[in-house]
Structures are given as C-alpha cells and as structure tokens.
Amino acid sequence: MIDTLPIKTSTGRPLRKEEMVINMGPQHPSTHGVLRLEVVLDGEIVVDVIPHMGYLHRCFEKHSEHMTNYQQVIPYADRMDYLASMNNDWGYALAVERLLKIEVPPRVEYIRVIMAELQRIASHLIAVGTYGIDMGAFTPFLWCFRDRERILDLFEMTCGARLLYNYIWVGGLSHDIPPGFVDKAKAFCKYFLPNIKELNDLLTYNTIFVKRTADIGVLPADVAINYACSGPMLRGSGVSFDLRRDDPYGVYDKFEWNVEVGKGEMGTLGDCWDRYIVRVREMEQSVKIIEQALAAIPEGDVQSALPKRIRPDAGEIYVRTETPRGELGFYVISDGSATPYRVKARAPAFVNLSVMSEISRGCMIADLVAIVGSVDIVLGEVDR
C-alpha cells in the first residue's frame, strides 16, 4: 500500500509515508561549500536528490557589464572558481584576446601554461584530499594541503597573492616570473612525484576506499555527453576528451603528455573511483607538462602585447578552456564600447553538478557523499 503525505518536495513530488526529506547543507561538512541538497530518503536509501544553489551568487555576469573596461573583469573571474583562479583568468583573457584578435608573446604563453598546470595540481590536490575526508580518511587531506602549500608559495613569489592572483591579463601578465622561480618550480616537481605514490599507497588503493567508491555513482559515457559533463567527470567515464588537446589553446601542442581516462579498473567504467584516479593521474601529467615548459621557456617581455586600450569591434565569441573541473566557457559579446556588453560564464562545476541527481538515485547516504565529492564542485563557480 502506498500512501502519500500532504508534503511535497520543491519539484512538486508528493512524499510517500516511508519517506523523509532531509536537507544536506547549506551548512554541512561534505557539500564542499554552501550547496543544499534536498534529499528524499527511504531509510538510508536515497530516493531523490534536488540540488539548490545560489547561496554564493555574486552576480559575476551583471558585474562584468558594469565595469569601466574589460581588464577589470579579471579579478571577478578570479573569484569564480577560487581554487583555480589562474585557469579562470586565462579563460577570460583568452576570450577577450580572440575578440581583439591579438597574439601574445611566446614567453607569456609558456608562463601561462606553467601557472595553469601548477594551479591544476593545486586544485586536484584539494579535490583528492577532500575526497579522502568525505570517505572518512583525514590524513590524505593534510598531506595534500602540505604539497599545495608549496605551489601557493610559488604563486606568492610570482605575484604576491596566494589565492586570487589577477595575474593573467588580457594580452600579457601582471608580472614576469621572478629570478629563481624556474629552479624552485623544478625542485617542486622533483619533490612532488614521490608524494603521489605515497598518496596512492595510503588512500587510492586502500581496500576500504575502493569498496566505498568503486561501482558507486556510475556515469555512462552517453549520459555524460548528454549532460555536457567535462573534465575529469567526462574522462572518468572513458571519453578521451581534453580541450588542451582537442580544441588547442596556448602552447599545449608543443609538449608531450597523455589524456588520462578512466578504465573501470576497480569496478564499472565511470564510477567514483575512476573519476578520482583521473585526477590523481592528471597531476602526474601536469608535472610532465611543467617540466617541459620550464626547460623550454623563451626570453622576452611579458607586457609587450598589452593593449593600451581594449575596445574590441562589435562581435561575439565563445571560448572554452580546460580548467581542473572541465570546460570553462566564456561567451563574450562586445558592442564596440570599452565594457563587455554581455559575459556569460559556462562554469564546468555548474554543468557537472546537474547530472548528480541523475546518477545518485537509489544509492545510500554515504554514497551520496561519495558522488558529490567525486563531482568536485566549487560553489563559487556553480553560483558565480
């Protein structure tokens, strides 16, 4: 007998008698920010998940229309995905450069690649570490933060900021890299690779961890593409797609590296473990790219191509770049004035999150935590 209660979820679905609605968040340890999940539960089994966001909405798009010039949007782009500010800066700067049709000097391209890949490692370290916390293992988190600290030190010596850099400008960079940076970055690469192995020993191949993540939250490749998932989320499902290779920008085509995809090693293809391992292996690939870029960095002036006045012709452009979370798109419309007419940010975390309720029906609460963690959301970017 199925009886319904006079209570409805926010999508208008009436509750059955055995069900209960519980709010996971906005203040909850494992929603990675101020995400609220309205979870319909039958005992420990998740019947339905309805994500609610907007708690961190800071009107990025409206602000962009009200700046006095294009350059001023960059600090706001910084604050979208606050764990990968470099990548966000680059995405926006690239969009405006393509709109202006300017080329940047090779030294700038190389430094951008180095910074973006360092940032990718830093961001993946947080994703991997907090995923450990979600699974109840606290130690990997602090190990990851210890290594991330080194990267932040590198950023700090470059531009003075540790989290929000405003470093990549339209047409150039705010500073050249300081003397000694190359050596320190090389030393970091050397120091970091053994730590990945250590992390794998502690967490990745831990039986309990594998049991908790393998076969959980399986995202088939066709669903992933239908929901336009990107980044490790899509690659975890076995789709070899990386914008750095497939829609090239910067100087990524000059380096040798691989696109890591999930292979379903521990369970079904596209489960949480696959998404996790893609991130871990991507860190190794990033180290590879950084090492090559550091060896080949050309001389030059990083500010020679900075435009005096940014006033693109009327037109529009959609530019996408690969951030740690996936495809970050900027759709910039110019009306010929000094401010953007419209900036739409296609945030990868926002899009990746939308598939979550699809893949988490029928799992348990603990699995829901595993799935949210494996999506690797940053609420600053989801809400913009």
């Binding site: 109840g136 602090l142 309990i208 961890f209």
Partner: protein, 362 residues
C-alpha cells in the same frame, strides 16, 4: 516515558541499600573503591586527548599543540576548562529530560563496565564470578543512551546517527561475545580475575598464544586464539565507534551523528565516555588474551603495583592502535559494516569455537 524514569529513580536507592546490606561492609569503602576508576578515567582521558592530537599530528606532518606548556601538554586541561565554560544549549524542540539524561547514561554504561576490570591482582572494583557476562551486559546501556540522545535531539541527522549506532553496537556485540566465549572455554571461568590468574607466568602463557596448556594443545590452539583475538580487537573498534567503524558520528555524512546538538559539558561527557570506552574494550581484550596485569617476563617485574603498570601499558597500547587506525583508514558504509560483522567475523568465530572445543576435549 516519564513514569519509567520515575520508577527507575525510585528503585536506585533501594538497590544500593540492599547491596550494602548484602555485603555487610561500610559504604565508605565502596565509595572509595568505586571512585578509583573514575579518577583513572579522568586522568586517562586527558592523556589520551593529548596523545590522540599528537599522534594524529605526526601522522599528518604537523606539530599540533606547541604553545600551552612544554609541547602543549597543558592543552587538554585548557580544552576541558573551555568546555566547562561553554554555554550549554538545549534545542527548543528537544525532549528535555531525555536530552539531559542521555550523556550521563552513556557514561554510566562505560563506567559501570570498569567495575569488573581487574587493574591488578589486588584491585578489582567488584570481583564478580560472572564478570565477563556483566561487562557485555552493562556496556549495552551505552546503546540506550545513544538512542536516547538521537531521539531527544529532534534532529534528523542525530536520529540517523543513533539508529546506525544501535544497529552497529547490537550486531558487533555478538562477535565480541563469541570471541570472549573462546577465552571462557579455555579458562573455564567467567571471573576476569581468575582468567587473569590462569595466564600467570609470562608471555608464553597468554591466551592469545594458547594459554598455559601442554605444548601440543597449545600449538594447535594458537592459530585459533590469535584469530579470535584479532577479531575481538576489530569488533571492539566497532563497539567504540572508532574509524573505520565510526559511522554513528561520521562527520562527513551525518554532520556529527548522535551528538550533533550537544555542546559544552554534555558534549565533553560524550567525549569522555568514548575515550573511557576505548580503554574498557582494550582492557577486556588485554585481560582475556594478553595476560591482563601479568608481567610478560614471568615473575620479573610482577606484583600488585607492577600489575597496574602492565595493565595500563597494555590497555594504552590498544588505545594507541585505535588512534593510529583512526588517522589512517577511511570509513566503511553501513551495509559493508553489517557484512563484515555477520558474514565475515561470525563464520570465522564459529569455526574458532568449534575448533577450540574439539582441541580442548581431547
């Protein structure tokens, strides 16, 4: 519900009175004897708090407390002082009497268990002839307290934690009881002091290594007793809600589980009960399988005072193991937890019991 509490409260003085009559000893002695474990628990909780922080910090490449006293040794004291001063909030919609009662009940369940634990050949709170049974029974009060706290908090997360906790404690009591049964079968006694005396004479006589039996029997028993001991240790981890079985308070899933709504001193009592429980299960494991207060070197360094030293050392070793595991392992899921108990531990234990029984009967 209130009637039940009222009746229970009325019954307690009667019970105490009859006990005193029964034993014919001045009550003051009992008070002193009963207070000793409490003093121990308080001191031990401070030490373990410090140890847990330092061990976890060194596992994680940090330093932990460094400023309050030498290497922060005074920090646990400061923590307790802070907790005492904190505002003690009770949610408006909570079931107030139950909410207040719950932490004390949890602590009573643990503290009562200490009564039957032999700290040394001269000191045991109550030399019960069914000590083992008593500890199993009395530690179940903890479940009632936890369920009470979860229900009374009027918080869905707390309720989840409490329900998980009840399911977990009930299912893990069975493997630990079965594991204890193995020790009882070999020693032929349920009195913990007698079990302890049975293992006198050094490390070779400990039950984990087969006990003081003829060498052939001993060697046959050893694989089974070691397995049982290992299972008892793992089951005890689950009984004290430590990682990898810390589901009732899994902070990444259930915020803080059954004690989400607690603050100040009530929270501190939960915390202390958890630490005390850690030592209780460690003490039981040490008494049953590792000779309790017995010195590992036979008569060398043995005696009532050395007994306390050895017992606390063994207990603390297991507490250290629990801390170590906590900061190393991830957490199991509910169904996996049940799977481990019912489908892995129980068959192993049945085999062990059967084998031990057959070996002993020859």
């Amino acid at each position: 519900m209130e009637d039940i509490i009222k009746n229970a409260l009325e019954a307690i003085p009667v019970l105490g009175h009859s006990l005193a009559n029964l034993l014919g000893t001045p009550p003051g002695v009992y008070v002193v004897m009963a207070a000793l474990p409490l003093v121990f628990i308080l001191l031990y909780a401070l030490v373990t708090l410090y140890m847990e922080m330092k061990v976890s910090a060194h596992i994680q490449d940090r330093l932990a407390y460094m400023y309050t006293g030498w290497h922060g040794v005074l920090q646990p004291v400061a923590d307790i002082l802070k907790l005492i001063q904190k505002e003690d909030t009770i949610p408006a919609a909570a079931d107030k009497p139950l909410f207040i009662l719950a932490p004390y009940l949890v602590f009573i369940g643990t503290y009562a268990g200490f009564a039957a634990i032999p700290f040394s050949s001269m000191y045991v709170g109550s030399d019960l002839n069914i000590g083992v049974l008593y500890i199993i029974a009395v530690s179940s009060i903890v479940v009632v307290g936890i369920l009470m706290s979860g229900w009374a908090s009027n918080n869905k997360w707390s309720l989840f934690g409490a329900m998980r906790s009840a399911a977990q404690l009930v299912s893990y009591e069975i493997p630990s009881a079965l594991a204890i049964l193995v020790a009882v079968m070999i020693t032929g006694s349920m009195n913990l002091q007698e079990i302890n005396h049975f293992q006198d004479g050094g490390i070779q006589n400990w039950l984990a290594f087969g006990g003081p039996l003829p060498i052939a029997k001993k060697l046959l028993l050893m694989p089974f007793t070691l397995t049982t001991f290992f299972i008892l240790f793992v089951a005890s981890l689950a009984e004290v809600n430590r990682t990898p079985f810390d589901l009732p308070e899994a902070e990444s899933e259930l915020v803080q589980g059954f004690n989400t709504e607690y603050s100040g001193m009530k929270f501190a009592i939960f915390y202390m009960a958890e630490y005390a429980n850690m030592f209780l299960v460690s003490g039981v494991a040490a008494t049953l399988f590792l000779g309790g207060w017995g010195s590992p070197f036979g008569s060398f360094m043995s005696g009532p005072v050395w007994g306390v030293f050895w017992f606390v050392l063994k207990g603390m070793f297991f507490v250290f193991l629990q801390v170590w595991l906590r900061w190393t392992l991830p957490r199991l899921r509910v169904d996996q937890l049940m799977y481990v108990s019912w489908k892995v531990m129980m068959p192993f234990l049945f085999v062990c019991i059967l084998a031990v029984g057959m070996i002993l009967s020859f």
